[in-house]
């Protein structure tokens, strides 16, 4: 087990350093001198020279590369030129908003996905099962940004039930939750489908298990068998599925943040690209990649703990 965990961590480390390399290449490959880009067209040659020196651009490439790597490992992602604040601070400020969105998405997908999958399994082959099946596939298929825009149109613009933009008043939990409902639905909808299919499948498998047969033989009421004995085991695989889900929700949250004008990492990157604020772009992409890799490694290790077969297939 420890060997498996170490192997996963090693792969994670490789991916992160690969990401770092890409970030460096990004700053280096961009057409034009980063210092001139940052200072704008009216800068004097002296100002440019001073900034170049401060950014370390006057040193040879390999030196810049090792500098970049060393400071990144120390958590120093450089300074944002416009406000003169550390990039990491700017990015970290936005992270809680994105995390809230992802937690909201998980809440939606678990709260609706597990019951739907459970009902489908109990009504196996019936009309309800088929309807849930089609619904699940549909929720998986339709892209989240279309869901985001359509739910904005229906619930915020047409019906005006829920707020359309922003993350709510700071400090006011009720208002923040209200602002979270639609964006997190857009983020989590596809995963309602995934989880309901997963729960249905594992529920059907569990219902065949011998301890369920024993419970039946003892004459326990059917609802007790299903909800206390079977469901408890059948939801286990969802935990690991969510590990993958968090990464995907990270991608959808970019769209949700833009559509609902919420603060967050996605919106930060998107806006930084349009004003060519490259340090922010590379910093934010790096932070999300590290987050994504860590979540995936954690999920893989949890799967390894729960299921020894996975461990052996990896080596």
């Amino acid at each position: 087990m420890i060997r498996y965990a170490l192997k996963r961590l090693w792969l994670g480390a490789i991916i992160i350093s690969f990401a770092l390399m890409m970030m460096f290449a990004m700053v280096y490959l961009i057409p034009g001198d980063p210092a001139s880009v940052a200072l704008g067209p009216r800068a004097t040659p002296e100002m440019k020279e001073a900034l170049r020196e401060r950014m370390g651009l006057d040193q040879p490439v390999w030196r810049q590369f090792t500098n970049f790597y060393g400071s990144a490992l120390r958590g120093d992602l450089g300074t944002e030129v416009l406000s003169n604040r550390p990039v990491l601070d700017v990015v970290m400020e936005q992270l809680p908003f994105t995390l809230a969105l992802i937690v909201g998405g998980i809440t939606w997908s678990v709260a609706l996905g597990i019951p739907l999958g459970c009902i489908a399994a109990v009504r196996r082959g019936g009309f309800v099962d088929q309807v849930i099946g089609v619904l699940s596939v549909a929720m998986i298929a339709v892209p989240s940004f279309v869901i985001a825009i359509y739910s904005l149109l229906v619930f915020a613009v047409a019906l005006q039930w829920l707020p359309a933009i922003g993350a709510g008043e700071p400090g006011n939990i009720a208002s923040q939750l209200q602002h979270l409902i639609l964006p997190s639905l857009a983020v989590g909808l596809g995963w309602i489908g995934y989880i309901s299919r997963m729960v249905r499948a594992s529920m059907l498998e569990t219902l065949e298990a011998s301890h369920i047969r024993t419970a039946r033989a003892f004459g326990l009421p059917e609802h007790r068998i299903i909800y206390t004995y079977a469901l408890r085991i059948a939801v286990l695989p969802t935990i690991t599925l969510l590990g993958v889900g968090i990464g995907h929700m990270l991608s959808s949250s970019v769209f949700a943040e833009i559509v609902f004008a919420r603060p967050g990492i996605g919106k930060l990157v998107y806006e930084a690209i349009s004003v060519r604020n490259y340090p922010i772009v590379s910093g934010a992409v790096l932070v999300t990649t590290v987050f994504f890799v860590l979540v995936n490694v954690a999920a893989d290790i949890v799967v390894g703990l729960l299921d020894p077969r996975v461990r052996s297939s990896f080596s």
């Binding site: 490789i14 991916i15 990004m26 490959l29 596939v137 298929a141 339709v142 892209p143 970019v254 998107y270």
Partner: protein, 274 residues
Amino acid sequence: MRRIMREPLGAIGLTLVAVVVLSAVFASILTGYTPSKISPAERFASPSLLHLLGTDHLGRDLFTRVLYGGRVALLIALGSTAVSLLVGVVLGLIAGYGPRWLDNVLLLVFDAVKSFPTVMLALTLVTLFGPSLYAVVVVVMLVNVPGYARIIRTQTLVLKSAEHVMAARSMGASAGRILRVHILPNIIGPILILVSMDIPVVVAIEAGMSFLGLGVRPPTPSWGAILNDGFANIRDSYWIVIAGGLPIVLTTLGFTFFGETLRDLFDPRLKGRT
């Protein structure tokens, strides 16, 4: 074909796919307007007999843009999927049949590429090379190739020690010939079904990137770009986002329903894969 139509889901899927494909192919017959023609006098016209889906902020006919946008979406989906498949097959065969160290390196690369969040990958690439059709194709490849290559690799490893491959090798067949004649035909079937199920994902990537302004450049009609135009005017002109989103919904649903039915009918073993 008849078996697909007998399944209700398959019938719906096939019909939707047919509608989308035919309307894209016959776009120029189905509408009298040109997709990029601007007519300021008809800005923000709501849907009517003259403009079935209304017009956008430049007075362009949305029905026409949706039809031509379908061409763009389908061509990109088919083209980039085909390229991904080709690259995936070649890399998978090399990993499966080549030397052990190369296999390990390739596996590491596949895992590394798969570990990046898709949208972040797209944003980085576009920052580097600027928004374009090629950026979309590259993103699709980076998303799809590792998965295809992995499956091909596993299948190749299994077949590598099959009797007919051993026989061919003992008769002095070259590695290229063995891969081409004895291995590839045996593994391409199941992968084609998987690939067809990825079409809706690719359509979503193209539309999503164009929605963010990172994909196809204006004035080329694209469903994602229409959505973006509509999103800016969502409070007054709701029909623009409806026109942009509906084809995306119908296409992704159609291809998904069709693909699921196809897979269940031909290869139930693949069921756990998605």
